[in-house]
Amino acid sequence: MDAAARVQTWIDERLNVGELLAPLREKTVPVHRYSQWYFLGGLTLFLFAVQLCSGVLLLLYYRPTANEAFESVQNITNHVQFGWLVRSVHSWSANLMVFCAFAHMFSVAFARAYRKPRELTWMTGMFLLFLVLGFGFSGYLLPWNTRAYFATKVGTEVAGQVPVVGHTMMVMLRGSEDVTGATLTRFFALHVAVLPAIAIGMVLLHLLLVQKFGTSVPVSVENEWEQHPRRRKEMKFFPNFFLRELIGWYFVLGFLIALAAFFPWELGTKADPFSPAPPGIKPEWYFLAQFQTLKLIPAKVFHMDGEVLGILGFGLGGALWLGLPFIEVLLGPRGARYVRVGAVFVLTYLAGMSVVGYMAK
């Protein structure tokens, strides 16, 4: 017996890892014409891992104070060995993670993979998407540059418009009435401690549920398999599907490194709270649709403040989307069709408004 086998036996005798991993060996992934969409979840998870690793490396040099944050990021970019690579990979990976999370969510919605018994899997996934957006919002301020400063000011002002609790929520986020060094410290704590702790727990729960209920098969494929049982095909998760995922992850890693080298993430100029907001200030692309909508809503709609109405609308929309599996059931036999039309509308609206917001001056 070689050394590796002896170590494995020693561990198995104590922890019985083989039994723990048995469900993974049993796990299978359906193979059909939509199977490629199954890779999005794993890809999002991989990017989350990239975020954790690059984030820890950035933490070694980053200083979360208004006086030092910008300079420390400048130092990381210009002087720390391969700091430019780590910072750019962290920023690009964050954006790709948001993109993959949205793509995963819409693929699940269109495939109606949230159907019984996977309602909780959908809900934990939606919470993870909200957490990813929270990571994006809190991390955006950390370099303390002009764009980030004013975008955060606008973003927290929007939060302040929420009826009843808005102002308290805004002050809690900012640490004062305005965006200051206190806001930076709070966002830092959220970004590196609170959100990761919740996100890791939520990821584990999501994976546990995925493991428990298995991979969902789209209704059309399921019907086809019922009629022609010989067409049913499955692939072992480990190692067959996992190795394919690994290839995807390697490609994404290479893509991230290439992006970092050819399109390094810009740092901009240091935030100056006393200077006027630069013209055309916009949030990150994943908040553009909401931002543009709030810009287009009239100041008053039926005696109600337009901005408040917009925020309430987004809140309601988010809540309805979270409860999608239950809404489909409530809508009865035609629920699936309504949900599909709704999903097309939401996707078109978000994409269209983001483009309009990007083009707007």
Binding site: T77, I247, G254, A260, F262, T269
Partner: protein, 425 residues
């Protein structure tokens, strides 16, 4: 429920009464009641926003009469003056505006020397001689819509002063008897000063009254031109005082820069090339001409060095490199160039060179930082080839492994099926 309704009704009624009682009472003015219906110069409405009206003054302050009682508007003893002739206007305005104690009651910071200045101005002097064509208070400030100079709608707001002056000064027929050219406004609108004022909205940029004065408007004498310009261009004036030109330029700054049509000077303004100011007096044969040409060449050389560094840093920045520190250094070189251009007014090459030598170090440092940034950019793009190739190799190996794995799984499955068939047989 009924009691609540009654209470609400009484609270509402009480609020209406309170609001009505708090509403400001309309000030009665019988003059406006009639003049609002008239046309032309006699038309005066309550809506006209006049600075005096805002301070509570009414028609009687200038015109006398009784503004409250329609039957006694022009009654004897009411001091009614009616129409005020042009000849009366400066003294009438001055009766309040030159009264320090009176003006203090409304605006303690308002000047009270306007009438005294007016008497010293060309306008005032001519007016005293009985010339009815020269400007008086109302020509510039208006009549019933007089606004403070800080109000952008006022004809004497910095943005509007030049247009107000040009009403008369662009009228060639009106200017002819005084032997004054009528081209000043056209020249001014073509100048760097107008560009700053009108296009960039820089209210500190000079307009007519900045150089000529407002109430005491006079053309600055030839000897005073440099003094006028130096109120803003302090360093240029100091260097000019050191130059040999100081004693020979009869019109001071205007000798090179002209008076109203002042263009933005570039480096070709110095030297002997066509269009240069120096070339008007100097030639390539005289020593001063050679010095002027040398200053021009040196400025051009330095400018191209700064420009090269700027372009390189811009390229590096567009490639995503952080060159903020190098841009600060480049800014120092640009500052040195600006200072050297100011020192041109000394007309001495050595003085210009002092600034440029200090700036050369900054320009060279910026250039070298730009080159280093571009080198780093190339390194970064090459260095990704290593993990890129490694990733490709791993992906290729994984692909092969999966193919091999699935082929052996397929063979196992087929042999299993065969075994099953044999067993079944």
């Amino acid at each position: 429920m009924g009691k609540l309704k009654v209470t609400i009704r009484w609270v509402f009624r009480g609020s209406v009464v309170l609001l009505v009682s708090l509403a400001p009472a309309q000030t009665k003015n019988v003059c406006v009641d009639c003049h609002a219906k008239l046309e032309g110069s006699l038309k005066v409405t309550a809506e006209q926003a006049d600075a005096h009206g805002h301070k509570g003054m009414s028609c009687d302050v200038c015109h006398g009469g009784n503004t409250q009682d329609e039957a006694r508007v022009k009654a004897p003893g009411s001091g009614f003056r009616g129409h005020i002739s042009r000849a009366q206007i400066p003294e009438l305005c001055g009766s309040c505006h030159a009264d320090v104690n009176y003006v203090k009651r409304f605006n303690p910071s308002l000047r009270t020397d306007q009438l005294a200045h007016y008497h010293t101005s060309v306008h005032g002097v001519q007016f005293a001689k009985g010339d009815a064509h020269v400007a008086i208070c109302t020509d510039c400030h208006g009549v019933h819509e007089i606004r403070p100079a800080s109000d952008p709608r006022s004809p004497v707001h910095p943005l509007n002063v030049a247009k107000t002056c040009q009403h008369c000064h662009s009228d060639a027929a009106l200017m002819k008897p005084y032997r004054i050219a009528a081209t000043q406004f056209a020249d001014y609108t073509d100048s760097v000063h107008h560009e700053a004022m009108a296009l960039r909205g820089d209210l500190s940029a000079p307009t007519c009254s900045t150089c000529h004065g407002s109430h005491g408007a006079v053309p600055p004498g030839a000897g005073s031109v440099a003094n006028v310009c130096s109120t803003c261009h302090v360093l240029q004036a100091q260097f000019f005082d050191e130059s040999p030109h100081k004693t020979v330029f009869a019109e001071g700054c205007a000798t090179c820069h002209t008076s109203h049509k002042i263009k933005h000077p570039d480096d070709n303004f110095v030297g002997l090339a066509a269009g240069s100011a120096c070339g008007d007096c100097h030639t390539a044969d005289d020593e001063s001409g050679k010095a002027a040409a040398a200053i021009h060449d040196r400025l051009q050389q330095f400018e191209s060095q700064v420009s090269r560094a700027r372009k390189l840093l811009e390229r590096a920045e567009q490639s995503g490199m952080d060159v903020a520190e190098a841009q600060v250094v480049l800014g120092q070189a640009s500052d040195a160039l600006t200072k050297a251009r100011v020192r041109v007014h000394t007309a001495r090459l050595a003085r210009v060179n002092t600034e440029l030598e200090a700036g050369s170090k900054s320009a060279a440092a910026a250039l070298s930082a730009g080159e280093a940034a571009m080198k780093e950019r190339t390194f970064r793009r090459r260095v990704v080839l290593v993990p890129g190739l490694a990733i490709l190799a791993v992906v290729f190996a994984l692909g092969l492994y999966i193919r091999e794995l699935e082929r052996s799984e397929e063979e196992d499955r087929k042999s299993g099926e065969q075994d099953d068939r044999k067993l079944a047989a």
